[in-house]
């Protein structure tokens, strides 16, 4: 951990990103006022509380309804089970088109499917992928890369001259990705919400998900069971909030509501599964330690709708970006999940003590997750194993001995270690 260096390295990124983050808030304020925001948050919180409280029942109901609709639902516990399941579905196909998914990030799919070409089709992720970079943000992963850098990478990787403008890059990507999307027989996407009445909701602006999910033979959806809610009406509310809180946009350009493989009965009423869209839809519900959060003091994390609003205004994230959090999620949420998915030492290195407890993430969260409080609970667990900054031990000794965090007070001298608040 070398914070000073990390902060310095992030200074250029900071200049690019911070205006986008401030503008996000400004745009959102134009869409909804404080009262509407509060109403939306309260309603969403209720929807998620109800779902998670009753998740076992709800999951059963969802699986039953999805399967009745012709969707193959597979529950997997961990990476290994996921690997077995996905390899079976993919079979010998070599090219897989993929869209953005934070859940897929949890399982490092590239390592699992080394003999396949997994192509990111979301522009931001595509840029990140070809640049061999790390995703910067759960919703806008490539916002730290400049047009100049991107066209350089395109030249290196594809030997194509592209003007260093966002327009030219998008045009290049459109052509390049379409060629691939038309060829691929297997497509991989995430999901934003699963409604227990039998539908999968996926939102996007670019159109790649709509294309993938219709053109391929096999559409594989990977998500966590925590995305399940009661019905389509509730799902629709989450879709809208995801858009507003993630990027300050009123509604996503496309919302795919997928309730089964494509079908037709136009020829003599004979039902044929696999008409013009996907022939098979597979839904992999990943646990990956989510069950360990259920009925614990960290259960609230399962309410998360993955919009990334918690880091959009986070003071720590604004300085060091991906150095705060885990590989699958930036910021305090990633820190906490890494204590479950990796271990406590990892959670410490991911920034368990970086949080200033400012609670702006909670204020900005569409489901009011109190990440500052959850971080304190995590610190409590780490403290029991003495995984904490050295200063803390000294500060506590001081309060025990002298009643204040600074130590013995010399009237002529002012303490210089400001351990307080």
């Amino acid at each position: 951990m070398n914070l000073e260096k990390d902060i310095e390295k992030c200074q250029i990124t900071q200049k690019l990103i911070l205006p986008i983050m401030y503008d996000y808030k400004r745009k959102r304020d134009l869409l909804i006022d404080e009262n509407q925001k509060e109403q939306m948050r309260t309603e969403l919180r209720k929807i998620k509380e109800k779902a998670i409280d009753n998740i076992e029942e709800l999951k059963k109901k969802a699986i039953k309804n999805l399967e009745e609709n012709g969707i193959n639902v597979i529950e997997v516990k961990d990476k290994q089970e996921f690997e077995n399941a996905i390899k079976k579905i993919i079979g010998s196909e070599k090219l897989i088109t993929k869209s953005k998914s934070n859940v897929i990030k949890e399982i490092e799919i590239e390592k699992m499917l080394k003999d396949k070409e997994i192509l990111e089709t979301d522009l931001g992720d595509f840029i990140v992928q070809i640049s061999d970079e790390k995703s910067l943000h759960p919703v806008t992963p490539g916002m730290h890369l400049t047009p100049e850098n991107i066209v350089k990478t395109i030249k290196e990787k594809f030997d194509k001259e592209v003007q260093p403008t966002p327009e030219a890059i998008a045009a290049f990507a459109r052509q390049f990705l379409r060629d691939k999307i038309y060829k691929a027989k297997v497509g991989l996407t995430g999901a934003n919400v699963i409604s227990a009445d039998g539908s999968i909701f996926i939102l996007e602006n670019e159109g790649n998900i709509s294309l993938i999910s219709r053109i391929v033979d096999k559409h594989i959806v990977v998500t966590g069971w925590d995305k399940i809610v009661e019905n389509r009406e509730e799902a629709q509310k989450i879709v809208q909030a995801s858009s507003i809180f993630a990027s300050g946009q009123n509604y996503p350009v496309y919302v795919s509501i997928i309730s089964g493989p494509s079908k037709t009965a136009d020829i003599q009423k004979k039902l044929i599964i696999g008409a013009q869209g996907a022939k098979e839809v597979h839904l992999i519900l990943l646990d990956n330690k989510r069950s360990d959060l259920l009925k614990t003091e960290f259960e609230e994390l399962l309410y998360c709708i993955n919009c990334g609003a918690c880091v959009n205004l986070c003071p720590v994230y604004h300085q060091i970006f991906t150095k705060y959090g885990s590989k699958d999620f930036s910021g305090p949420k990633g820190v906490i999940t890494s204590s479950f998915r990796e271990d406590k030492q990892n959670a410490y290195e991911n920034g368990a003590f970086f949080c200033t407890s400012c609670k702006l993430c909670k204020e900005n969260c569409p489901v009011k997750i109190d990440l500052s409080e959850l971080i304190k609970k995590l610190r409590k667990k780490l403290a029991k194993e003495k995984i904490e900054p050295e200063n803390i031990k000294e500060m506590i000794e001081n309060t025990k001995k002298y009643g204040n965090p600074f130590g013995e007070i010399d009237e002529k001298k002012t303490p210089d270690k400001f351990y307080c608040c």
Partner: protein
């Protein structure tokens, strides 16, 4: 003086609790507030080194048991001195006394006031006349006072007497942190400094001549990281100290 008053007002003492950072590091701020309290005719006692840390930094780093020790110690000493009301100038202490002590001490029955509430009330009752410095200033809401306790208006009411408030883009319930809280100032100083610099940029954008706040940690961290924007703790402006 404190002790004599304490005997005289048996069962109804008001304690001024500056908090460790103000008491031991920002001694001039401590003096300012004592002067202000006297000026608005509030009889108060101080407990100097009899009282201990409120427990906030210890709770924030996950050491609940050690914090409970301090909470019990403070309660005992407050009761011994017949304290029934605490006025504090530190937002973290305020939040801890107001919201956390009742969670750990069922019998906790002390009134708690943040000093900006005390001063705001005194202004309304015309017990204090705050002179205008006729400047454009911007106010940084401390997280513990704002989001934790929803005190947004009282400090602004005071500041309106002093100058013209120019709000930053992230303000009130959306206030951006100064970066110093929860031990970050001492555990990860470069991080605290970097956050403070981002906040100062927001303050500069308002074109205000002075950035002011009412939290010792915010004040310290912002002041240390501000090159050309003046940073003032609200008490300094109340007593008319512009420079």
């Amino acid at each position: 003086m404190g002790l004599i008053k304490s005997i005289k007002n048996l069962g109804k003492n008001t304690l001024y609790y500056p908090g460790c950072l103000t008491k031991f590091v920002l001694k001039d701020i401590n003096d300012n507030y004592k002067k202000i309290l006297t000026k608005i005719d509030i009889e108060y006692i101080t407990l100097k080194d009899l009282e201990v840390c409120c427990g906030s930094p210890i709770l924030n780093c996950g050491h609940e048991e050690e914090a409970i020790e301090l909470i019990k110690k403070n309660y005992k000493i407050f009761k011994e001195h017949s304290v029934n009301k605490i006025i504090t100038s530190c937002p973290a202490c305020y939040h801890t006394f107001k919201n956390t002590y009742p969670k750990f001490l069922e019998k906790w029955d002390l009134q708690v006031e943040h000093i900006t509430q005390t001063i705001d009330k005194a202004i309304k009752e015309k017990k204090i006349n705050i002179e205008s410095l006729d400047i454009d200033l911007t106010y940084h809401d401390p997280c513990h006072l704002g989001r934790y306790c929803e005190i947004y208006q009282e400090p602004r009411n005071i500041l309106k007497k002093i100058g013209n408030i120019k709000e930053m883009k992230l303000t009130e319930n959306y206030s951006f942190c100064c970066g110093g809280g929860s031990g970050v100032k001492s555990n990860y100083t470069p991080l605290a400094n970097s956050i403070a610099k981002e906040r100062i940029e927001m303050a500069k954008e308002t074109k205000a001549k002075c950035l002011t706040t009412t939290c010792p940690m915010c004040y310290l961290n912002l002041k240390e990281n501000s090159k050309d924007l003046k940073v003032k703790e609200i008490s300094q402006l109340i007593i008319g100290e512009e420079e």
